[in-house]
């Protein structure tokens, strides 16, 4: 009997508008996956035969670095912040490793870069957590500092030359059997780690708590400055890792390589249902958001539309999706 009522309830939940809104509010990832599926179908309709295992592999491969950067945004946005330094950190990390690989070697290069990223994140975290500088300003300043230092490094290194290490190219652009991107080897553990951290650990819950209500979380004993410092260190290190994949995927080592991915990373997190005001969202939606953005780019470029139309559509979709979220979540 209980089974019958259950189905009746689920059915009514699926049929009413309120049910849809509740679904959108509680599990935004489901409508997002629906949107992604629609976009895939649209791709197939526009170019029959384009959707294949290989196509999917290429899309996933292109989406992974963006999804990792968007992970940094998701975590910082949960606390009500934003991390505008991830683009500069990712570019600089790919570039610096490429310059070091000829001399000190790949392993040392990776260590140097990740330690440097952690230091940058530590400074950002201290600024945001202890000195209460607005995250927008703090990370903007940090990205200027990193860009400048990377440019100085570039002038120092101009004689030795630089090339993206073979290992990065393999990891970033390689595919198993021409279908499964090798970067999944790095991305899947990272994504699982972030999702588990956000939903299962105290640290993750603290991120939500600080974003949702900073005063309440302070009164209940959360030391927000410690959480924020740890958060920005983590974000910077993850951005550094994303930089390896960016340089590997494009086989380019440049100090501005990942800059163009900065704003799309914010967009992916917003489309994925993370509120820029903090306290609401998750990484699962962000990953789907990054995939959606990548599929849209692919559709538009396969249609031969110029960059201009792509940007206009990009912007319209972000506004539309964000407005839809606000509409359904404002009612509670």
């Amino acid at each position: 009997m209980s089974a019958i009522t259950d189905t009746a309830e689920t059915r009514s939940k699926w049929l009413t508008a309120a049910g849809w809104q509740a679904l959108f509010r509680e599990r935004p990832i489901i409508p997002l996956i629906g949107l992604l599926a629609i976009l895939v179908v649209v791709s197939e309709l526009i170019r029959p035969g384009i959707v294949s295992a290989n196509w999917a592999g290429v899309i996933v491969r292109a989406a992974i670095p963006l999804a990792i950067l968007a992970g940094c945004q998701t975590m910082t946005m949960l606390t009500g912040g934003i991390d505008l330094s991830v683009g500069a950190i990712a570019s600089a990390s790919g570039f610096v490793v490429a310059t070091l690989v000829g001399g000190p070697g790949l392993g040392l290069g990776i260590i140097v870069v990740l330690v440097a990223a952690a230091i940058a994140g530590l400074i950002t975290g201290i600024g945001v957590g202890v000195f209460r500088v607005h995250p927008l300003i703090m990370t903007l300043g940090m990205s200027l500092v990193i860009l400048g230092l990377a440019n100085v490094w570039q002038l120092q290194m101009v004689q030795t030359g630089s090339g993206v290490p073979e290992e990065f190219r393999d990891l970033g652009a390689g595919m198993f059997f021409g279908v499964v991107p090798k970067s999944l080897l790095l991305f899947v553990p990272l994504a699982v780690l972030i999702i588990l951290m956000l939903s299962r650990t105290g640290f993750g819950r603290l991120l939500y708590a600080i974003g949702d209500n900073p005063i309440a979380s302070r009164l209940s004993g959360a030391r927000s400055w410690q959480v924020l410092i740890a958060l920005y260190v983590l974000s910077a290190v993850i951005a550094g890792i994303a930089g390896f994949l960016f340089s590997g995927l494009t086989n380019v080592a440049s100090v501005t390589l990942a800059d163009s991915a900065l704003l799309p990373s914010v967009a992916a997190a917003v489309i994925g249902g993370t509120s820029i005001l903090g306290g609401r969202g998750g990484y699962g939606g962000t990953i789907v958001g990054a995939l959606i953005l990548t599929v849209i780019s692919s559709i538009l470029s396969s249609l031969g539309y110029p960059e201009a139309v792509r940007q206009i559509l990009f912007g319209s979709i972000i506004v539309f999706v964000a407005a839809a979220y606000t509409r359904v979540t404002a009612e509670t």
Binding site: L140, L144, V145, G148, N151, V319
Partner: protein, 334 residues
């Protein structure tokens, strides 16, 4: 109390009080002007040849960013933020460059007026979207950044177009005295004609009111939504002016947005406008832009790698804001 007699001493006291209040209210801007003065002296010391040409070059080079900073300041005062300033500049710049190419000087006047109206329209669209969708300002304007940049590319795919002679001559050279660059006069005139009357009107007060406390402003009868849209329209207008100044100084239109958006946010914060809204003015940001530019010039004179100037800009931005927030924390819990 009702029979207050204004004795001469009392009058003088209130006059001094008034000056003190003005000084206190503008202490941040005054401090910035002090820093600017010191920097100018330092520049003169390290480069004795720095003079008229240097000042003129400085004025011409800061004009677009200074106008962008004014645009950003107005929105931030009303508790918004506009990440599409750079894209609006690119769009208005290419529209003006494309329309003015191979046209008469008289036609260019029409173009300038049209582009300013275009700026108002772009801002109105931004503001309306913010108000209607109730999505955070930063997300809406982030998307508009893409949209306006895309439109700019549709208007002009590669840098090109032209500029009327009178517009070009408006920003270069000097006026009356060779020490007064035209670009600086234009900047001050534009701000004086557009911003100061608004600042002194009811609308200006409303801008500050919705910035410092939207709920209180609403209860005291301010049309919050309309005022917010108005703030974005002003931002669009000043972005259009900045775009025109780009066309004027380069003679062509470039569809790819420069680094103006984020630098304008940095200048606004350095200029003493609180990102929380309701505090600050437009002159602080202008001075901040000049300071940032002068530091870069000084570092070139000192033969320091110009990339380190970028580092210095970042460090100054963060450092100044840190000091500012430390002072505020001190005030709150002495």
């Amino acid at each position: 109390m009702s029979t207050t007699v204004i004795t001469p001493e009392r009058e003088r006291a209130s006059w001094i009080d008034g000056i003190a209040t003005t000084l206190r209210r503008n202490s941040w801007t005054i401090g910035l002007v002090g820093i600017l003065a010191v920097l100018l002296i330092v520049t003169r010391v390290i480069q004795p040849t720095y003079g008229i040409t240097g000042i003129q070059g400085l004025a011409v080079s800061v004009l677009p960013l200074a106008l962008a900073a004014v645009a950003q300041a107005i929105v931030v005062i009303a508790r918004g933020i506009d990440l599409s300033v750079g894209s609006m500049m690119a769009l208005t710049s290419v529209v003006s460059a494309r329309l003015m190419e191979d046209q008469t000087e008289e036609f260019a006047i029409l173009v300038v007026v049209g582009v300013l109206v275009l700026g108002l329209v772009l801002g109105a669209i931004n503001g309306t979207l913010v108000v209607v969708t109730r999505v955070p300002d930063i997300v809406v304007t982030l998307s508009m950044l893409f949209i306006w940049a895309g439109c700019a590319l549709l208007v002009l795919n590669t840098p090109g177009g032209g500029s009327a002679e009178w517009l070009r001559s408006l920003t270069s050279g000097s006026l009356i005295n060779e020490w007064i660059p035209k670009a600086a006069v234009v900047l001050l005139a534009v701000v004086a004609v557009i911003w100061i009357p608004i600042r002194r009107s009811r609308l200006g007060l409303s801008l500050y009111a919705i910035g410092s406390d939207p709920a209180a402003a609403y209860r005291s009868g301010v049309a919050v939504s309309r005022t917010k849209i108005f703030a974005y329209m002003l931002c669009g207008l000043f972005s259009a002016l900045a775009g025109l100044s780009l066309t004027a100084s380069t003679g062509i239109g470039t569809p790819v947005p420069g680094p103006y958006t984020l630098l304008s946010v940095a200048a606004v914060v350095l200029g003493g406008v609180s990102l929380a809204g309701g505090r600050g003015g437009v002159f602080g940001p202008i001075v901040a832009v000049v300071i940032l530019s002068l530091i870069r010039t000084d570092m070139t004179f000192l033969n320091v790698n110009t990339n380190l100037a970028t580092v210095a800009q970042g460090v100054i931005l963060v450092g100044v804001v840190m000091v500012g927030s430390l002072i505020q924390m001190r005030r709150k819990n002495p």
